[in-house]
Symmetry: C2
Subunit: 309 residues, 2 copies
């Protein structure tokens, strides 16, 4: 396996694409390219969560896909221990992580994969994006706007180079209404204030921000098919985010799977020992999302195997 | 992921250990070591099959284990296109691949992993060996003799450094009686003649060879617990090999799982698109061996996750 971390900007070490590319694919299937998955970990736009990065990439690689992890711009550096400001402290704004930067980095990563397609044996017309929590928000924002001028003008390429074939959205922050501070629990307030500061460049949401930053409100006919999953018990990002996204997809006649598992906290990732930091993050019921996603991906991402060689 | 191919002998490039070591394990679980799987691909001791190497390692890595592929000594070089000698041609004997060399290389690989345990974050007391076909034969031979003088004298170490915690044996060549040339189909004859030449250093089996080289006849109280699987339809290595191994384990009170799937040819590996070269090697029923093995491994290989951090 060829695994390397590559910078998206020469002068920044925090924004990277990590490859999980199968070398033996070569001798196994000749000159055969494999569909790919690009993974955006969550972390409230404050950092990219470890448990939603490498473990997920390896699991998708085990399905036969070339896998990639994008660490997009976040408020805190990837290696730091996050310490939240105290409640009334002024929260510094960091322009590099404010929207649309993290979303545009998905497009940059798509182009980087396309550039190395031959070396990495990637079927560039079949790249699925997979995000968790804030990473799913980032993916969903991109899924709604990959062919808009905002993205095309920045990346200076044609839209067909940027189209994802499908998206996987795990416990997505899909509608900012549900995370507006007066809707959420008091103990989570600082978490969301820093998260707003990170992605919006301010600590309070206006109605206009909610409208602009809620991907479930911008699903359109060019949004790719989606696989949604979440847990009913999620107390950080309400399951209503996922339900509202499903409704928007249905309204626009975009095909989707949705799987809601009753039990399990926020941030389950694979929900197996592979991604868990603590025991309660292992949940055999919720872990079924992986095989459900594997079956769903086959609809558009199946390897085209020969009858004989 | 740290993936590198390391030579087992400085002066030979054909015998290698390839690592599939998770880097992020570090930040995920602190100073936590992970149990490991060492995989021996099949290939009739003629070469190490690609489809039973990297795809399998990645799939076990996705379970949370550090994974390794051992390419042991085989008759043909790993990169060559195998061309069988014609029926009556003299078959050259190559001493380097004759028993016990391939088996001793499993021990060498165990010690190499132990040597790098800190760097690779491996829990060296929990290494499972996994083999397919001839690779399973090699693993089973080792499983019966890891603490014998043959192994200990060659490796010059103490037996506790060599004990596998468990073994996984896929469509194993377990009893040479079933592959004796008068038992097998005529079209497979040359395959077996070259295979005998490779591992036995001669083309015909004596009764003594069958006795010595059939691991199902040497199961003892120090043989580790085993997970056996095969298909009823296998026409290259009869399912009877697996059944006889199960009987031997039962006789010695060694715990085991055994799963025989009715359909599927020899050499299925994962039986998914990840390992398949052609369509008939994808078999959703037989592919269930992986999740059955995942559950079985948990008995001795579960990650010890904390309740909280």
């Amino acid at each position: 396996m060829y695994s390397e971390k590559i910078r998206l900007y020469e002068d920044r070490e925090d924004v990277t694409l990590t490859t999980y590319v199968q070398n033996d694919a070569n001798s196994l299937l000749g000159d055969y390219n494999r569909p790919a998955i690009l993974i955006c970990p969550g972390g409230g736009y404050m950092k990219c969560a470890t448990q939603e990065a490498e473990p997920v990439a390896i699991r998708f690689a085990a399905m036969g896909y070339q896998a990639f992890v994008l660490r997009y711009s976040t408020y805190f550096s990837q290696d730091s221990n996050v310490t939240f400001p105290t409640a009334k402290e002024e929260i510094e704004i960091k322009e590099y992580c404010v929207f649309p930067n993290p979303m545009l980095e998905i497009g940059k990563a798509m182009l980087l994969i396309r550039e190395h397609a031959r070396e990495w044996k990637v079927d560039v017309d079949r790249i699925t994006l997979c995000g968790f929590s804030a990473g799913a928000h980032n993916v969903a924002m991109y899924a709604n706007s990959w062919n808009t001028n905002l993205v095309l003008d920045y990346l200076k390429t044609s839209s067909e180079h940027l189209r994802p074939v499908a998206v996987i959205l795990g416990y997505m922050a899909g509608d900012y209404y549900f995370s507006k501070i007066d809707q959420i629990e008091v103990e989570k307030e600082m978490f969301f204030r820093v998260s707003y500061a990170a992605i919006l460049g301010k600590q309070e949401l206006t109605e206009e921000d909610i409208e602009r930053m809620s991907p479930s409100r911008h699903v359109n006919r060019d949004t790719p098919p989606a696989f949604l999953w979440s847990t009913y018990e999620d107390r950080t990002v309400s399951v209503k985010n996922t339900i509202k996204m499903a409704e928007a997809l249905a309204n626009q006649h975009i095909p989707f799977d949705m799987h809601i598992f009753e039990e399990g906290p926020h941030g389950l990732s694979l929900a197996t020992q592979e991604s868990a930091k603590v025991k309660k993050q292992v949940n055999p019921d919720a872990a079924k999302w992986v095989e459900l996603a594997e079956a769903w991906l086959q609809k558009r991402m199946a390897l085209e195997l020969p009858e004989t060689i």
